[in-house]
Amino acid sequence: MAELHIIGHIVGATGFPHSSLFCKWGVHTGGAWRLLAGLKEGQTQVDIPQTGDMAYWSHPIDLHYATKGLHGWPKLHLQVWHQDYFGRCQLYGYGYCHVPSSPGHHRIDCVTWRPLGSWQEQLAQMFVGGGPQLRSPDLIYSGADRYRLHTEAMGSVALELGIIMRHFDKYGVES
């Protein structure tokens, strides 16, 4: 079996309408992968930047996977939420990206989008907040149902991940 270490952190998010943000993140893998150590999902703190637009979290990610095959390479999913002055939480974006497969240090910018409802819902969203959310974010991974969504582009989340791969070259994997 080969082992994969993902060591890094979620730096922060930028480009969203308001900056009081927090992030729910998780790593999703195929069936051949096994998590040996680390937490594969979590939620950051709420960060309210005083100056500038970028909300910084510096949330650590430290995962150790063992795998029997190359299928189902880990994918990272992110949900960026906004907490406003009154304590209400509102979804600001979903983002999905693959964990890099080449060893080394990677700086990843994962862009996010938010589902849009009808124009009435959009109007209400402008005043009251809220807005449509996905019933089950995991369905997005298969990609088959995506075409039914109408979304709008939101900001992007910056991550820095270091990837260490072990025993992959013993099985003839080049990456």
Partner: protein, 544 residues
């Protein structure tokens, strides 16, 4: 047993002279003839000018001042004081204490923490200016009481409740704002008063400080100097005297058997942990069949920008050239969601964040003369769909799978076929609809192309925006297990010859791949069928 030997010696003129004379005498040949006794100073007892003492860890030695203090029972306030009182009484009954000038403050004494602050105010050894008051942080660090912190957890677990302390007390602030390792301290002090005036607190000087924490760090300040020049201490007061201080380490080293035992314990621990991890991980890994290169790509469509209309979506599909095949359930096409763009800088950008993965197998049918195989291609088109259900093609593009594994970010530019004339422009604007390509592979090399020169003369297009992809490519083949060794060796030769190492790497991989495959084929023919182990699920279909 941890001990150290401390020696203080007053420097007086006669002592210096006698030492100098002694050295002179010793350096002469046959110098042992002169009696050294004639050169020792008289009139002053030994104990007044020098003292050498061996001090153990946390061994309490009383000073003159403390002896006098703890003799009275009324001066004792804490149980520790009372204990000292009994010890002093016992010492007085016995032959007295064995130290005269050198004494110690152990961890439990109340003076131990005050000394740091005192020292801070008097010493100015950090900077060259004499009048510099200690900074705010230095004061904080010095006044921290070095006590054991039981509540600090070492494993970094997060407490479930009370993460934030909204009303910190002054004590809490002092102990958590500065670095506060739990250290056991011991000060070795010297009463460096002139003869006959011992027992006063002003003449106490700090000689050596020894600190240790539970994890095996021992700090000795000043350091052992038995092989170097002794330290000089200048006393304050009317008579400025110079004392020499020597500190020597007298600890017995650990026995070699004990050391070995410790090493063995560590080795066992690590080996056991490694075995545990190995048991979790296992030994098998899915390998492609012999002679087949598996190409796996994890990609995501990141964004599209610079297009004319809004609400974009991308429809893409992959094409496999000859000798490539894929699994039956593998989807080779996809459609993203429709995304409304936002303005970023000067352009409108739509974010898709659409991950997809793709796996294909390459098997060369014959020993081909072509050294570089044809790689698969993704053809995509960008369309816009607005609320009036108007459809427009925004652009066509293609992306060639990279030959080198690794991470790549590729931006593909797109174009749209254009019909000159106002009619088509009006139609595009009002009702939607625009000319579309019948054969998508026309974007790159049409499938029906035969010949040497591709001519697109007469075809009119308009440049539209660009689409960004993130690609992570992995290649796997059995031949690579040996090829990595060959590649490493071959690269050196290429570098020596001045060749391009990247191209060389690709060629050498393929060469080694062909060679290994040939070897495997020959070996396979000579073996009976059932000994060859292949993954049964994989059905290799060669594309028509």
């Amino acid at each position: 047993m941890t001990t150290c030997r401390v020696r203080v010696e007053r420097v007086t003129s006669t002592a210096a002279l006698s030492k100098h004379l002694q050295q002179q005498v010793l350096s002469q040949p046959g110098g042992g003839a002169i009696e050294l006794e004639t050169l020792t100073s008289r009139g002053q007892t030994e104990g007044d000018n020098e003292e050498e003492l061996e001090v153990g860890w946390q061994e309490k030695l009383f000073s003159q001042y403390e002896m006098e203090l703890f003799q009275n029972e009324s001066a004792c306030q804490t149980p520790l004081d009372r204990q000292y009182h009994t010890e002093v009484k016992a010492l007085n009954k016995a032959k007295g204490r064995r130290n005269k000038r050198i004494f110690t403050y152990t961890d439990h004494d109340r003076y131990t923490s005050c000394l740091a602050l005192q020292q801070l105010q008097t010493s100015s050894d950090l900077l060259s200016t004499t009048k510099s008051s200690p900074t705010f942080l230095a004061e904080r660090m010095a006044s921290v009481r070095h006590r054991r912190q039981d509540r600090r957890t070492m494993d970094g677990s997060v407490p479930k409740s009370k993460i934030v302390n909204w009303e910190p007390t002054a004590e809490f602030v002092k102990s958590s704002h500065v670095v506060n390792n739990a250290m056991q301290t011991m000060h070795i002090m010297g009463d460096l008063a002139p003869a006959g005036r011992m027992g006063q607190k002003e003449n106490e000087y700090l000689l050596v400080t020894i600190k240790t924490d539970g994890s095996g760090t021992v700090i000795v300040k000043p350091d052992f100097n038995d092989d170097k020049e002794p330290y000089r201490i200048v006393t304050a007061g009317d008579k400025r005297e110079v004392w020499r201080l020597t500190v020597k380490n007298m600890c017995t080293p650990m026995q070699p058997e004990e050391k070995e035992r410790e090493q063995n314990v560590y080795k066992d621990l690590y080996v056991r942990h490694k075995e545990y991890l190995n048991s979790l991980v296992g030994q098998d890994f899915e390998m492609p069949p012999v002679g087949i290169l598996r190409y796996m790509m994890n990609a995501e469509i990141v964004s599209a920008k610079g297009f004319e209309y809004d609400n974009l979506y991308i429809h893409f599909f992959m094409e496999l050239p000859n000798n490539w095949s894929s699994l039956p359930f593998q989807t080779l096409s996809g459609v993203t969601q429709t995304c409304r763009a936002k303005t970023l800088g000067k352009e409108n950008v739509a974010f898709f964040s659409y991950p997809f993965s793709f796996e294909a197998f390459y098997m060369s049918e014959k020993e081909s003369e072509e050294s570089i195989p044809q790689w698969p291609v993704i053809y995509f088109k960008v369309l816009s769909l607005d609320s009036w259900q108007r459809f427009r093609t925004e652009g066509y593009g293609y992306l060639l799978f990279p030959a080198v594994p690794g991470k790549q970010t590729i931006t593909c530019h797109t174009w749209r076929p254009l019909q000159t004339g106002t009619v088509s422009a009006l139609r595009r604007f009002f009702i939607g609809g625009s000319p579309e390509l019948e054969d998508h592979s026309y974007v790159r090399i049409p499938g029906t192309f035969k010949g040497e020169r591709l001519s697109r003369f007469g075809f009119c297009t308009e440049t539209t925006g660009s689409v960004t992809f993130n690609l992570h490519c992995i290649q796997q083949a059995r031949a690579f297990v040996d090829a990595t060794m060959l590649k490493k060796r071959r690269q050196n030769v290429f570098d020596q010859l001045g060749g391009f190492s990247q191209q060389g790497a690709v060629c050498t991989i393929l060469e080694a791949f062909q060679r290994a495959r040939k070897k495997m084929q020959d070996a396979r023919e000579s073996l009976p069928r059932d000994l060859v182990h292949t993954t049964s699920q994989l059905q290799v279909e060669s594309s028509a």
